[in-house]
């Protein structure tokens, strides 16, 4: 199971769907290229009608995804694409593959690389899928893209099916999962486990329908499977945030690995543990994805959290002081329905001390 993980990026395609400017897309590409990107996939449907900049069209990793029709093939040929994904939706009633064969023949005339994607591959029986194998050989299809457009797969099924297919398919398989049920990352890992090297993914899983989250797939392989050929994640958070910002997308604060708060600790038990050894409550160190650990003081804090927080300011709280302050912290956090800022915490502490002084005086 030691292998390269190559990503077919779907982020740029979502940017096109959202109408992101070409200038912004050109800025996104070099950032994404840091993460084992094999291809940038763009749908003909989303390309701007007023023309695609030559620089983007000629990008060596760009693939254009089209429906398998002569009309669309003529368009991508005219536009100058050399890598084409023919997308095909298998229907049991359709006995003839004439249309697909015609499309493959036409694509062969100009395309340097042809990929065949069956959008609903998951719904097909092994004999139905096998009926495509001769086309893959005849037209020298570079990879067969097994898409699960309706999110109909769960991980154990993905692994089982792809292991079986790889025994007969005449070219490498690429897995394209979707995330309607929250399983795309796991399904992509399952595909990798079966021996597939290429998986489709987008930053934070964006897309319509949505995809596997690129950062989750890569970091799971790197840290859970201990595969060190996966690119470093040390600038991952900043890179993902920058890419999404070009599309006007804000990340949820709890987005796995790259969300703002995924290395923030508030509950007393967790802060106490993190202070003793971060591994107690963190599966990876925040620096490994370009984040920093945060200590939040709020409703779920304990006395240990307060002592640690105040020690950072060179103030030592004894247990009685911490307990007294904790009660006020919890009350204020509940009233304002959010944690305390450092300033609010200072104010609570100094106000109490001033009261002590005045009582003494």
């Amino acid at each position: 199971m030691r292998q390269m993980v190559m990503v077919s990026d779907q982020t740029i395609n979502e940017a096109l769907r959202l109408g992101t400017s070409m200038a912004a897309i050109e800025l996104m590409i070099p950032i994404l290229k840091k993460y084992g990107i094999a291809n940038f996939d763009v749908s003909l449907d989303y390309l701007p009608s007023d023309g695609v900049p030559k620089q983007l069209l000629l990008h060596p990793l760009l693939r254009c995804k089209i429906h398998s029709s002569l009309d669309e093939i003529a368009k991508v040929r005219q536009m100058g694409f050399s890598k084409v994904i023919l997308s095909w939706f298998h229907q049991p009633s359709q006995s003839s593959l004439d249309q697909l064969t015609e499309a493959l023949t036409a694509a062969q005339e100009f395309a340097q690389e042809i990929y065949l994607c069956i959008e609903n591959a998951e719904e097909l029986t092994i004999p139905e899928l096998t009926s495509y194998w001769s086309l893959l050989s005849r037209y020298r299809v570079k990879r067969f893209i097994y898409q699960d457009v309706r999110s109909s797969l769960e991980p154990l099924g993905v692994c089982r099916k792809l292991e079986s297919l790889q025994q007969t398919v005449p070219c490498p398989i690429e897995f394209h999962g979707h995330n309607t049920y929250g399983l795309a990352t796991a399904n992509s890992l399952a595909a990798l486990r079966s021996g597939v090297q290429y998986v489709a993914a987008a930053v934070s899983g964006i897309g319509s329908p949505n995809h596997a989250a690129m950062e989750e797939v890569l970091m799971a392989v790197k840290h859970l499977w201990k595969q060190d050929q996966v690119p470093s994640g040390s600038s991952l958070t900043a890179d993902c945030i920058e890419i999404l910002s070009y599309m006007g997308i804000s990340l949820p604060v709890d987005k796995a690995l790259i969300g703002r708060d995924v290395f923030a600790h508030e509950s007393g038990i967790h802060v106490d543990g993190i202070t003793k050894n971060p591994l107690l409550y963190e599966v990876i160190q925040p620096e490994e994805v370009g984040q920093t650990r945060q200590l939040i003081i709020g409703k779920h804090s304990g006395t240990a959290s307060l002592k640690i927080k105040f020690l950072q300011w060179n103030l030592e709280l004894d247990q009685a002081e911490a307990l007294e302050l904790l009660e006020k912290v919890r009350r204020l956090a509940s009233v304002q329905k959010r944690p305390l800022s450092d300033l609010e915490l200072h104010q609570l502490y100094w106000r109490r001390n001033q009261m002590d002084q005045s009582q003494l005086g």
Binding site: I206, A256, S267, I296, S334
Partner: protein, 288 residues
């Protein structure tokens, strides 16, 4: 590989969910969410931690006073003072949590395995004497020795616990590890197992489904997957997936999932990501 019939979800939005950094629910919000969870068919709600203090206890008493079909559970460390706080609130279903990994036992508690077993016995004796329903949590099971987890479960069973929580506390399992590990322990465990997954690598839902396939009988979830760090397994994703992939209806009505997620999004001040599975705006129109 179908999961056992009777697989049930334990909602921990108010306990593990609210513990996520920066989130505070008001009493009113908890009441509204508890009523909505109950109406949707959630059978178990981990309602909170009475040891947190008087204000929390007042909120928990308000929840206990509601006419709900669901069973409310109080979360406790295995400390007598914590348990007494839960009993005084009026809880009749008590959860006791202790770590089982050597990492947690040695570095967090500064104790040994024998101490953990003794502490569990002491805590359970107290709860048992009040005739409560007992559930036990084994923190950090995914990084623990399986045999020690099974011994811990045996002790819990001897003292009347009704289930044992297998916690993937730091979210370090993938679905294949989860399936292999749980298929083994389910066969050897003296208690029904509850899987408790975290989402650090985005795998909490997949791991929960793998646990279902391995034969566990319960799973912890939260609304919109809210929880420590990257959160817990999401109730919406697990409910929708169980129906989609295994045709299994866990008693929770899918038609309630959108409004439940909206409630927690508002109460936590965390708007739903449009691309969020099941309940985000991109997916919701497709499946709900």
């Amino acid at each position: 590989m179908d999961g056992k019939m009777g697989f049930q979800l334990v909602d921990t939005t108010f306990r593990d969910g609210e513990q996520s950094a920066g989130v505070v629910f008001s009493t009113e919000e908890k009441i509204n969410m508890a009523i909505a969870l109950d109406r949707a068919g959630v059978a178990w709600i981990e309602a909170g931690t009475p040891a947190m203090g008087q204000e929390e206890q007042e909120t928990l008493r308000s929840l206990l006073a509601l006419p709900l079909r669901t069973t409310l559970i109080a979360w406790n460390r295995a400390e007598l003072a914590d348990i007494r706080a839960s009993l005084s609130c009026g809880f009749s279903c008590i959860h006791i949590s202790l770590p089982v990994s050597d990492l947690h036992i040695s570095q967090k508690l500064k104790k040994d395995r024998e101490w953990v077993i003794q502490q569990l016995k002491t805590a359970l004796q107290l709860v048992q004497s009040y005739g409560c329903t007992i559930t036990v949590g084994a923190e950090d099971t995914s990084r623990a020795d399986s045999d020690f987890f099974l011994k811990f479960a045996d002790v819990a069973a001897q003292y009347g616990a009704t289930r044992i929580r297998f916690a993937d506390t730091v979210g370090c399992l993938d679905p294949f590890m989860t399936f292999d590990r749980l298929q083994d322990v389910v066969k050897r465990c003296s208690l029904p197992i509850e899987f408790h997954g975290h989402n650090d690598f985005g795998l909490a839902t997949a791991n929960t489904l793998a646990a279902f396939q391995a034969g566990v009988q319960f799973a912890s979830v939260t609304l919109a997957g809210i929880g420590e760090r990257a959160g817990n397994a999401s109730l919406e994703e697990v409910v929708a997936s169980l129906e989609k992939f295994y045709g299994y209806h866990c008693g929770i009505e899918a038609s309630h999932l959108g409004s439940l997620a909206d409630l927690v999004a508002k109460a936590s001040n965390r708007p739903l990501f449009p691309y969020r599975p099941v309940v985000g705006s991109v997916c919701r129109k497709t499946i709900l």
